[in-house]
Amino acid sequence: MCGATEGGLSLDGVDVKKEAIIQGQVLRSGEPVGNAYVRLLDRTGEFTAEVPTSATGHFRFFAGPGDWTLRTLAPKAEPVDTTVTAATGAVQEVAVSVAS
């Protein structure tokens, strides 16, 4: 599909030049987790946003430039924290593995 990215989510209609995008996929033993929740925490650890994963385990945030933490919650798993640095005009791809 035109505009599709490695992360699997289309960026059609999004002006990537103006956004600092963090996106990726949640996996359990290599399989997508479609009922997980990913929380975006700012550099002080404060909650900024949360999304449920898609059926294919994908998620996306429009963050600002800087350091962020992704906190992933999934059924029958401990929360997983992943740090990521976002930059305006770039798409940061993140793979999150939760315990199997």
Binding site: Y37, D42, E46, R60, F62, A63, G64, L73
Partner: protein
Amino acid sequence: MSRENALVTADWVEEHLDDPSIVLVEVDEDTTSYDKGHIRGAIKLDWTTDLQDQVRRDFVNKEQFEALLSDRGVSNDHTVVLYGGNNNWFAAYAYWYFKLYGHQDVKLLDGGRKKWELDSRQLTDDVPTREKTSYTATEQDKSIRAFRDEVVAAIGTQNLVDVRSPDEYAGRLLAPAHLPQEQAQRAGHIPTAASVPWSKAANDDGTFRSDDELRTIYSDAGVDWDKDTIAYCRIGERSSHTWFVLKELLGQQNVKNYDGSWTEYGSLVGVPVALGDEPGQAEGQGA
């Protein structure tokens, strides 16, 4: 109001799935969530079509709300139990909306859809059919809804509580970070508003913190319990969550939700705006 009257647990909902006096209602920001599975027996309200006037920026009127609930099979005597995604943002918005139109018995499912899913509780695709009713709403209860002029007048005199994320409050982001950031209005916050992100009131699983924890959070942020309070966010849904905490869980009097919120205030001509992490001052006060 109190926690016992306004909030129910997931266990309670499971025990009452077949109780005919209860109507479960799912309300989500992502209006397709319900279609991907919902709690058995739950009906759906779409906040973009069912609850908004489709021409001007306002809610559906009393007659439209009556027609909506009659059509969906909700009667005045039903206990309405609301839940949804985004930690109940839009369910809390619908809760406030039901109260605005005078529904007596409304409750929120603590933790909403997320807690239900993380607990691996059952969801279904079956859409229930309900008998139509003849619902009667009251006139809007303006004691819980704030409009822009009272918000401007509240600067420096009432509690203004900005419940958006710290980066939105400071003007570093214009929208919650799951949405694109391109917006027409100015960034920042209403001068003198305390920053208490809605998320401080909730645990990671979306359930509300204890009353003692909640009181401490708002006191520490500078909320004066002897003053009237107006909560706002970007479009009025996250601030419904905070309105619910202050009014329904903690029993604070005179709490209003400003549904115009930042998308209105940040577009007004000539009103004061504060940038950065500090509340700032009312014009004419201090330096």
